[in-house]
Symmetry: C4
């Protein structure tokens, strides 16, 4: 008689999802350099001056590289807490990767227009929006996974879960605030985004567990 196997066996393991995500992170982060174009000299311009004019491309490269690098590190931190996956979790992760892979585009737009007075503000708002997208899909994955401890380690302490949820929602609110601020003043929005990145570069807090004995983990 045909029988069904344990559903969990067919679902993608979190390890597989991590490996694929690592590939996408590595490619998205490396593609950023393609947005820095070799300058074409005009008239008597020196190569140094032309390379100097690319400062906004260098800044965008460094900034987006750090952002994707931090997301990569955090992806591993958080996947240590995810113990199972299901079909919709895989889809949410694909959507998250879609937002990460999109980052080279707003980065290129920012680099192209940040020194262009009338368009700077729009470029900055668009970039802040590009940073908000992965933040939103990141918190969606987390909320989906912790609902009823569905996919996370069942021993995670409720206090740690609530604290992390609050932290993730706060980061969403802050990127949203960065969009609003950049609508008013592009430079202020850029400074806010940079500060947020510097905050997120800090080491994440340690998870806490409700078990007393951790030896069997």
């Amino acid at each position: 008689m045909p029988i069904k196997r344990n559903k969990a066996m067919v679902y993608l393991s979190t390890q597989r999802i991590e490996a694929f995500s690592d590939g996408v992170f590595a490619i998205a982060i490396t593609l950023l350099v393609l947005e820095i174009k070799v300058p074409h000299l005009e008239g008597s311009e020196s190569l140094w001056s032309a390379l100097g004019h690319l400062w906004s491309s260098y800044l965008g490269y460094i900034f987006s590289f750090l952002m994707i690098g931090v997301y990569w590190a955090n992806h591993h931190h958080i996947f240590n807490l995810y113990k199972k996956s299901d079909h919709y979790f895989v889809l949410l992760n694909v959507v998250f990767l879609m937002c990460i892979s999109f980052l080279p585009f707003p980065t290129a737009v920012l680099a192209a227009y940040i020194a262009d007075e009338p368009h700077r503000q729009a470029a900055m708002t668009f970039y802040a929006f590009g940073l908000l997208l992965p933040a939103i899909s990141w918190v969606s994955m987390w909320l989906y996974a912790v609902k009823g401890h569905r996919l996370v380690d069942p021993n995670l302490s409720p206090a740690f879960i609530s604290k992390t949820t609050r932290l993730f929602l706060l980061s969403n609110a802050m990127y949203f605030a960065a969009i609003l601020v950049s609508l008013w003043n592009g430079i202020a929005g850029l400074i806010l985004c940079t500060s947020l990145t510097l905050i997120f570069i800090q080491a994440p807090s340690e998870p806490t567990y409700i078990v007393e004995n951790i030896n069997d983990h």
Copy 2:
């Protein structure tokens, strides 16, 4: 006396094929963003308006990202059923990856011409054709693998195999229908392709086995 080793030892393991395929999936999916070009403003156009005109590029990006993401997830589902590989199976997988890697091109064509009235229909048909190619090579791999239970788990129930074969052939027929529909009306073809993708995003059905005891799996 020189002797032959077991042939299966030299063939690529399905795990290796999966790892390589994951690499190609990750790159193809991430390259899609390169098709969204930073807009060059003309005259008094605002950056927002120029970014808005790229809506077809964003749509193409999202749509093809989801398609490749779904193929990636399904590739793992189905490779759980493949237990062995042989030389021609490896070649069929290379051909399948060739079709997946090709997707950024019809996506870029669609994005470039979907808003261009006289060329929209051709762009749409070409895109539907681009979606048909991986579907064809996907079903070819399956048919090759299940013929005489050659490469799949020998305990897979015949009912599950027939059902899956019918499902895959149906999906081929539907993408072919999308081509025909798009020849008549580009927008209708696009809607059909989108619906197909939404269907394929659903969780695949569980495999069934002829064995009663699954503990030794």
Copy 3:
């Protein structure tokens, strides 16, 4: 007293080299699609006609994809025979990957000029040269590894080693012949290269061993 560890422990394992090589193969094979550019329509040209004019790009894509795919599969076959690595072997593998990664360029040149009568012959010769480069570095790795059974499985039969060496040298000679033929006639060179690829797509022959008992492998 400071002592030296076993040198082999510090050298890269063949598994690491394979994983890195797989990454380069996956990227080189996927980058090929970037050489197919979205056509810009001129005058009253239809999109179908413009897409049709890209036939040489499609051919180049398919041909180079198969070549890299076959090299990838063969790389795994042959790495089953390599049991150790050393510093110069790693460097030879880097040079081999350099030749594989270069392939998208001659492919793009071939696609751009194969339909351009006066330049077709040069494009064809350059492409055949692009195929010869990985073939040369491939045989160099093999010759370095088998010299005194340095890096290969010590139980490989001498007959198998000589046969494989002859086969690899023959393939080098044939690609060199393809260069000469293409100097005389571009189309003939293309046909020869295609035939060679079709030959190499065949399953490689099985290794033979001098041991009688293979259970402990």
Copy 4:
């Protein structure tokens, strides 16, 4: 009572960092070929002559490919010595990868301007600077890891650590010297960079340990 788990469990394993770094290395090395552009023939120029004019692109490709390849091999050598990681070590590695991923850009600038007399010197200095960046971040990781034997194998002999530190600092000094030399004479700077690469292509020296018994390693 909620308790904290061992901090080390949550930090990224050095294996994970290596796998991600390998991905970035593989992509950066393969992207180099994209900087070689298919030539557009003008007037009666032959394709051979146009392909010949790309000699600087070929040189840049070979040179940067070898540099990244050598860094990749050395990354594995050195990660055999790193036994733990922490948050700031992960960040330092991200910064190192940022410098490696940047290399295709100075390579493209060098290829574009090395044959352009008035700009050659600037292109060469910029390229030497591009080589100095990964060298600096490389030594930073090492200094951070060995401080108080924080992250390295605690049995590494102090003599080996000091010797390696001196070697890494020397390589920084030499790339800095290459910048100075190239400011005076571009060709001399190029020759110095090439010589440095040829030196670094040599096999690294073996680590030594303070333990007498190495069997339990």
